[in-house]
Symmetry: C2
Subunit: 485 residues, 2 copies
């Protein structure tokens, strides 16, 4: 395919993309396919001779679309939102064309420098303390990671290295393995599974501290764990606080936890993967009070800030902590300016070596929407979640399971977990809307997350009416079965 | 920006992309900017009100392009190639539009299933032993990772977990920390820096075994290291072989190393990041002889197979080894079919949770080019490297520093390292072509890698003529300086 064919096919693809997104409501949100559906639909092996573009694009509708879960459908209320917007799609096209690999400043200066400045812009947009910004002379700064999982892992690894070096400086006879075997890191029992996984990867024991009745991690619980563990000779190094848990969008109490971490010299990382985007609205910033105690902070503009996946923004107060953990400089990556102290080599900030020009997406989205436009988007979603909340609250059959603060409503039918599992299955089998469950303690709960950029009140009302109808059906069936027995 | 504006802007962007790539030769391959150039060119913070698309696209030429290292310029001979082609760009547009997050089968069945089948297609294209393929009933299978760094890390983590479990089964009193502290993993001294980094991340001691005079890791050297380490009570768990090293594109001797690894029950991972793409040509498959001894294999279609970054393909013989290492199933990620044994949940195969629909790029590229078209691309690059090799060989001032097998030529001016550093600086300061150096042993060497999709003989000839001219200038200056002293 040459440039002139690309001009034609690219424009066709732009229309295909616009059609797909404009008409996404007409597609069933969750697919009908069974596991293994795709393999029989295409050949066993790649073609020897090239095929035409027409053949491929025909197969997109025949092979791909029947198996897609449509995350951008306004009937998708599962997991958390994943960002998408036209400016972000345009920026990604440009990113693909430039196709640079930005592992060092020299490998494409614009790729590194725009990222540093965009992370400063975004930090200011959410009211991040200045220590986290790079500015011209700051010791902090931000970087785009692929996902929050990677950000948590990087923070934990930085903490592990920092403590190891400190203890080895005090006692040079200690081996790294001895130190690490005594280390312990913490999160709340509501933290995302990736936090536990970061512990597994890094070999650092990860403990869960119990959250309170609102699923919030509190200072006392952390303090208790620390004291017990220190008494047993363990070395606490890290606490991962969550702002906006995946289960119920609970906010850990930073004002209590932060001073504990600081007093004990423990790295405090904040995972605000979903909720972080809301902090562009001043009225939600009370939820991040205490952030000044943290060493690192992360959220995912690719969730709720209209930026396509992947773009997880991660800031540290001291970039030397991060860089120091893994700096390696083979000759093939060295260049003239690198020791000037003026450049950033983002490869030291992340697990992979290679990286795309992802800051273009931030730049396009911030400029086309403006801060105000993005605030409108966040506020609309929060409003719609509260609209759904009001529907549930008005209905005696249902109960609300956790405080509704942003765009997530945790609710359930009053009654057994089995009843709620049956309702969930009915909802997802009908495939008119899509939601996923969670467990809060031992309670099986339905999660209703406002997701799509284009979701409106009418979709919320449809979803609620639909859930109500399925509930009535379910309860009628249960009644009939009871009557029969 | 609504769909109708996106239709217009998207088509403009398609033309911008086509123009950029068609006219890339006219742009200086390496930028003139100094560190910190970008910040003063744009505002301090994001705009409150949205801006127009025109303002942004104007800034792409004003702010971004002056700071871009043009990896797809035919005058770019640095690092290794990074893939780019029109079909891949089209597929990425579609990937962005669908915008699903494919962490589980249910989160978008097409995303998981196309990936499994594409990895089978690609495995067949390069003649991978059947054990690595998923097929309908296989125990192996492939996955797309972001980068080779992540693939190496996953393989090492799987080996670490496997050995830990085996030893704990034999002796339940052993703690994980005790076992890991005695573990040791190996690579050649020519392996990529990311291998050493995987050791740092996982806490497994990583040792480098010396390569031979052709920079090849040999069986005897590994055997010697193993015996010494076992005698000291260490537990060897992992060897990372490289096919096509970054320094000189050397190929470790799998036929010697493989049996040693198998006999010692050590996980053998193969990193063929760059060279793997060449195996689509039967005449290069002799370079992968012995692959049947490996437990896992990885290469980067995003390097040399015309697929845009990121797309690093990774196969394992036993997917249970990989999945077993980190399986976590919070309720919010569970769904009906997951225990059927029929589905793949790729989140267990990788470090991050989220993932894009990257297999679309493979599908589009394989079908538009066909295997034959891709073979033409590989063979052209290998041919051009040999054309450059012949130029160097004919010139008595220069020497070749390592065997030239694929698309990389390691060469230098006969003389001191300082002289070669001066030549490199002259080349990169002139900015007509761009190359990077490496060290082979203590010798400073210039790496000439054939990179761009559109590079032709004329560019190779230009590059050589240019290098010759700068060499003459350099040597004349040296003479004059000597005469002066």
């Amino acid at each position: 395919m040459n440039a002139s064919e690309f001009r034609k096919r690219g424009k066709d693809m732009v229309d295909y993309v616009a059609d797909y997104l404009e008409q996404i409501e007409s597609r069933q949100v969750f697919p009908d396919v069974e596991p293994g559906y795709l393999r029989p639909l295409i050949p066993d092996s790649a073609p020897e001779e090239g095929e035409t573009y027409e053949e491929i694009i025909k197969d997109v509708e025949r092979v791909i679309m029947p198996g897609v879960t449509h995350w951008h459908s306004p009937y998708f209320f599962a997991y958390f939102p994943t960002g998408s917007s036209y400016p972000a799609l345009l920026a990604d096209m440009l990113c693909g064309a430039i196709g640079c690999i930005g592992f060092s400043w020299a490998s494409s200066p614009a790729c590194t420098e725009l990222e540093t400045v965009m992370l400063d812009w975004l930090g200011k947009m959410i009211g991040l303390p200045e220590q986290f910004l790079a500015g011209n002379k700051g010791e902090g700064g931000g970087v785009i990671q692929g996902t929050a999982s990677e950000a948590t892992l990087m923070a934990l690894l930085a903490a592990r290295t920092k403590v190891t070096r400190r203890l080895q400086a005090e006692n040079p006879k200690l081996t790294e393995a001895e130190i690490v075997s005594r280390m312990v890191a913490y999160s709340s029992d509501q933290a995302h599974s990736s936090v536990e996984r970061a512990g597994l990867i890094s070999g650092v024991r990860m403990k869960k501290i119990p959250s309170d009745e609102n699923f919030v991690a509190r200072g006392q619980a952390l303090k208790k764990a620390l004291e017990e563990d220190k008494a047993e000779g363990l070395i606490p190094i890290f606490f991962c606080a969550t702002l906006g848990t995946t289960n119920s969008c609970a906010f850990d109490n930073l004002l209590e936890l932060g001073p504990v971490c600081n007093a004990e010299n423990i790295w405090m990382h904040i995972d605000a993967a979903y909720a972080g985007s809301a902090f562009i609205c001043p009225e939600f910033r009370y939820l991040m009070k205490g952030i000044e105690f943290a060493d690192s902070f992360n959220f995912n503009p690719h969730k709720w800030l209209l930026v396509n996946f992947d773009c997880s923004t991660f800031w540290v107060k001291k970039r030397s902590d991060l860089i120091g953990a893994f700096k390696m400089d083979p000759v093939y990556l060295q260049y003239d300016q690198q020791e000037s102290g003026l450049v950033t080599d983002y490869r030291h900030w992340q697990i992979p070596l290679g990286r795309r020009f992802r800051s273009l997406k931030l730049w396009f989205v911030f400029r086309i929407y403006g801060v105000k436009g993005l605030q409108v988007h966040i506020r609309k979603h929060v409003g719609l979640a509260h609209e759904f909340l009001e529907c549930v609250k008005k209905d005696d059959q249902f109960e609300i399971c956790a405080p509704v603060i942003l765009g997530l409503v945790c609710f359930r039918l009053k009654g057994s977990n089995e009843l709620n599992k049956a309702l969930l299955q009915k909802i997802n089998n009908s495939k008119k809307i899509h939601i996923v469950p969670c467990c809060l303690g031992d309670t099986f709960v339905l999660r209703f997350a406002v997701c799509a950029r284009t979701v409106e009140s009418s979709h919320i009302q449809f979803a609620w009416k639909h859930i109500k109808e399925l509930t009535t059906e379910l309860l009628n069936n249960e009644e009939q079965q009871k009557a029969r027995n």
